[in-house]
Symmetry: C2
Subunit: 211 residues, 2 copies
């Protein structure tokens, strides 16, 4: 697995998260899970201390304040996304094959409820969108990166003539991204996995070239 | 304007909200705005009392507890949605014309930021999806009603041969609903109105019959 010029492969530059689960990782796993369910604002030093039977002062030593904790939880969730989604698809051949692998891995990640509240980033971005600051900025970077990685792969597929030459790649990225987010919303709201079936059907329809 | 058998026209059975802004409406307008921005969990009797310079006991007399306040805010937001979106399109001829009017009014409602945090229902549903109870139930009913109203109008258009006879109306409703929610997400997150342009382009492409 190596950098291949794709936006996706930029994830390889991030520090790999150690397999050994350190105390810090254990704290952040719980923190990200709380945030996916009850929001980043529901994530407080006091609640985390209670849940994990740790001292508040110990947590403050790790993360500083609530904002530091929120930012660390976002970093942790980004690492999980890289491990669960990105690393599974970097071996796929660039173009339509990798694009399909990205969408499939993404839907599987949401469907398996890696975080108990569904997609960490969708929940967090809808919560924080009205609150400018470092936390919103970090969420913008993370979500934009994934959107751009999808558009980048579509562009590659168009140049490789795997998709029609008149494909508007940002528009297609918008649609594929919309289908995945909609299935996360529908599944979280109504608890029915058919939302993922719908997303897959719409994605497949959009990526099938009519001959 | 009259009931015409559409799911949409069921909104007419709801009590019309009075044009005169009562104290209760003034309180709830502020409450729904807080909730759209900071979440239903950010909506507390204490905060509302501070913001509006009212006594907590007065608010408790109106709404009971926090859950009563949350439910009242959802009712209020539903009435706003009916007034801003539904009532504007019930005069449109049923079928593709009304479907287009529904989508257009919906996007305008989000784009104009009727609530300062964007679409009240998308924010609230992603916040409350992990918390079973009366509030989540009310949000399920409200969001499902709108989804079903879209599917109902698509079905009508298919029967009127305005859309291809093999159209899967739930699948098409899924896609149109996804584009609107995605544009709300993108606009709230990145502050760029081109997200609505994208949603409109994708909707138009899906509703144009290829001849």
């Amino acid at each position: 697995m190596k950098a291949d010029g794709s936006i996706l492969s930029l994830a390889l530059k991030r520090p790999a998260s150690s397999a050994r689960q350190s105390t810090r990782d254990r704290i952040l796993a719980h923190a990200a899970d709380i945030a996916s369910r009850d929001g980043l604002e529901g994530l407080t030093i006091g609640r985390l201390a209670d849940d994990l039977s740790m001292s508040k002062s110990g947590l403050i030593a790790h993360f500083g304040n609530k904002e530091g904790l929120q930012l660390a939880a976002i970093e942790f969730a980004s690492e999980v996304f890289v491990r669960e989604v990105v690393l599974n698809v970097l071996d796929a051949r660039r173009g339509i094959e990798r694009l399909n692998a990205m969408l499939d891995a993404w839907l599987h990640y949401v469907e398996r409820s890696v975080f108990s509240g569904g997609c960490f980033f969708m929940a967090a971005s809808l919560e924080m969108d009205g609150r400018p600051g470092p936390v919103k900025k970090r969420l913008q970077v993370a979500t934009r990166w994934w959107f751009d990685a999808l558009a980048d792969e579509i562009r590659f597929a168009v140049r490789a003539r795997e998709l029609p030459s008149n494909t508007d790649f940002t528009q297609l990225a918008f649609e594929l991204h919309a289908f995945a987010q909609e299935s996360n919303w529908g599944y979280q709201m109504f608890g029915d996995k058919k939302w993922f079936v719908r997303a897959r059907a719409s994605m497949a329809a959009r990526l099938t070239i009519e001959k």
